[in-house]
């Protein structure tokens, strides 16, 4: 009798010695779930046997709000999704509505958009690097990353007055002209940043503890990534060279030369390397762009009241965390009939269970860090 009970337990839970599974509730208030993610971990000792993500603690109904706002009124709301990369969100939305209106932003506006978006990518990756390192126990990189991010935020502040939720762009172009000395500020940051990024590399890249904690952790194959729909650095670290900036160029990316870093293993270390290289490439794009910002108007021919023709549009951009898509249905009125947002964090979070199974509790936080999720975007 006792034997059968034990066998049943073993089969059901698959734990060592048929012991009970330990269900550990991580979050929504936990130092390293990056917001209000809640993960229920089924543990055998410290080994993870299964996970269950509970999301929605930050749900604000952004998509529903869109149906009751005009096109311009909704633009600030998208900044609140991925608040670490508000500029990128705004770019995606503005371009989607422009596509719907069938207008194109002037070249000068597109170049400045590119510069700001790439700066935002660096800022977003810096936050990822700092918190990821902090999760793995390296305390110091976070403060170095915040120091550099501060410089980027200062540029945003000078440009549009806001630091976090910038609402930097306007449908049809830019709200503001680039301020005097904008190029100089960006150039100073980019020149400085090369030296700064070496500091992180010195602290982490060759560190054997760091390599031990990240290499072969949270492996995911390219096929799995594609099946799930994961995008961004996660997909590229698995070896798929897919970047919308090259594949379907938007803004002014077709004007600049840059490389798309690709990993081989799809493990946490590769994702680290890919993102570090992306920061360097973003820096190069910024340097190329400020060399020659074309003169001209900053706002295209859009009316005061936006009334797109009835129809639907899908537009996606390569946000720092992956592919950010906007699907907008217009019924010909001043308000969208329906807005559907494809947030990269939400889709990438699906890879979590696949990555975590079989690893230890300590790896769970490393994997949450490497996914680079923002719960504002996951829950919307």
């Amino acid at each position: 009798m006792a034997d059968t009970v034990q066998e049943d337990a073993t089969q059901k839970n698959g734990t060592l010695l048929g012991a009970d599974e330990l269900v550990l509730n991580m979050g929504p208030q936990h130092p390293s779930t990056h917001g209000v993610l809640r993960v229920k971990l089924k543990l055998d000792g410290e080994r993870v046997r299964g996970t269950e993500c509970v999301i929605g603690y930050l749900h604000r109904g952004v998509e529903k709000i869109a149906e009751h706002r005009t096109y311009q009124q909704f633009a600030p709301y998208v900044d609140r999704m991925d608040y670490i990369a508000a500029v990128s969100n705004g770019l995606g939305y503005c371009e989607a509505v422009e596509k719907l209106l069938n207008v194109e932003a002037p070249l000068r506006a597109r170049v400045i958009r590119t510069i700001l978006t790439e700066l935002q990518r660096i800022a977003s990756h810096l936050i990822w690097l700092g918190t990821h390192a902090l999760d793995i126990g390296a305390l110091t990189p976070l403060f170095y990353c915040l120091r550099e991010r501060e410089e980027i935020l200062k540029i945003f502040e000078k440009y549009c007055g806001a630091r976090l939720t910038t609402h930097a762009f306007r449908i049809g172009g830019l709200q503001y002209e680039a301020y005097d000395g904008f190029e100089k500020d960006v150039e100073r940051f980019c020149k400085d940043f090369e030296r700064r990024i070496k500091e992180y590399v010195d602290l982490l890249t060759g560190n054997s503890i760091w390599i031990g904690r990240t290499r072969n952790i949270g492996m995911i194959s390219a096929a799995d990534c594609i099946a799930i729909g994961a995008s961004g650095p996660i997909l590229r670290a698995s070896g798929v060279k897919w970047d919308l900036r090259k594949a379907q160029p938007y803004a002014a990316y077709d004007r600049y030369k840059f490389e798309i870093p690709v990993g081989a293993n799809g493990d946490t270390y590769d994702r680290y390397m890919v993102r570090m290289e992306e920061m360097r490439q973003s820096r190069l794009i910024c340097l190329q762009a400020i060399e020659n910002i074309p003169e001209g108007p900053i706002l295209g021919k859009v009316g005061k009241v936006l009334k797109p023709p009835a129809g639907e549009i899908y537009h996606s951009i390569e946000a720092p965390k992956g592919i950010l898509g906007y699907y907008i249905v217009s019924d010909g009125t001043i308000q969208p009939y329906r807005v559907r947002i494809r947030p990269p964090s939400f889709v990438n979070l699906q890879a979590f269970d696949k990555m975590v199974r079989g690893h230890l509790v300590a790896d769970v936080v490393a994997i949450i860090g490497t996914l680079d999720i923002v719960l504002g975007e996951v829950d919307r």
Binding site: L22, G137, T140, R213, R215, E259, N265, M273, V274, A362
Partner: protein, 454 residues
Amino acid sequence: MNPTTAAILHFLQTWWVELVCGVVIVAVVPLIAGYIVLMERKLMADMQARLGPMRVGPHGLLQPIADAVKLLIKEDIVPADADALIFWFAPVISMVAALTSMGALAFGPTFQVARDINIGILFVLGVSSLGFLGIILGGWASNSHYSIIGAIRSTAQLVSYETAGGLAVISALLLSGTLRIRAIVEAQQNYNPQQHSGVWFIFLAPVSFFIYLVASIAETNRAPFDLPEAESELVAGYMTEYSGFRWALYFLGEYANMIVVGAVATTLFLGGWLRPFPNVHWLNWLDFLPVLLMALVGVYCIYRAGKQPVPVQTWFMWAVALGCFAVAAIFAAPWIFAPLKFIVPGLNGAFWFLLKVTAYIYVFMWLRFTLPRYRFDQLMHLGWYILIPLAIVNVFAVGVAIVLESEFGWNRWLALIVTTAFTLAVAAILVNLHDKRTAGASTATTATTDSYAG
């Protein structure tokens, strides 16, 4: 006089020194621990390009007192499902163990805290290890998953690293031939070609010192081995459910433990209260270093005083400067007033001892801000596959060196260099084997990362 009074008086007459020492430990160590926390926060801030605590007192100098007051007046929470009695008792064990083990330490030739017991170092190591009982019981009694995982981790960590640390201690004991703390330090000064050396044991047994350093970081639960309280994984490990002053007791125990391991390392390997190279006469000027150092700190405080933004801070900096000058004057007094000469060894001894302990703790902090955290299995691998075998080989090597010297008349340094080279070769082999083992576990998936591939 009635018999009770007589007994109490007799007790006091016999034990008054120890009682006073006990009171001093209980009163002073928490304060020192508080200031070590401040030092840690300031160092961390310095390494992370920020300022650290600046609000309470000039440059946050009164922050520890504010923290202590805050913790004291916090609500005392015992979780509903916790085992209240053990929950109450566990942090006390942790702290008492750390404070008790200080009793046997010697901070200078005349500053033995309690008394020079004949099993000195064994007593210190044994009693300080009892602190883990507090951690395990606290984790268990909290009745929380995070706490129990933290407690299990700390148990495994203790078993692994106490072994390696103990084996590293043995080589210092072999060199000195005694467990008595005062005698161990004296063995690092008195030159005696038969038995003893005239240098710090770190020069004779560098590998042992390194092993003890690593093991002591693990024993005090400091990064990169801070798994029992890994904040990004287990919230706060075994302390998750603790708050207010109970939490402060754990904290106190942890920092007191750092002082203890620092003091043990200083005693065993860094020459205790001896100045660097105590037998080299042209370095005798180092005896004046305490005076010079305190005076320099005082001058620096005056220099900074003019740059303080608030008048109160200027006055406070002056006060600190005057305090430094007063200490410098105390250090200098015996040279000016000859009859006071007898206090020189004691004062200078305490200075050097505390300087070395501080330097040791500084290394702890430096590592904490620099390195990421080990994972639990990696910690165990490091302990069992590298550190413990290395410690065993090292004890044999040191023993062989001593025998070669005493029985076969080898030159001491030659013997030590040969055996140390042997130990290092073994270490290289162990690390190599370890790398192969970890690489072998994942050969199928390992490939080089090429950021520009594809």
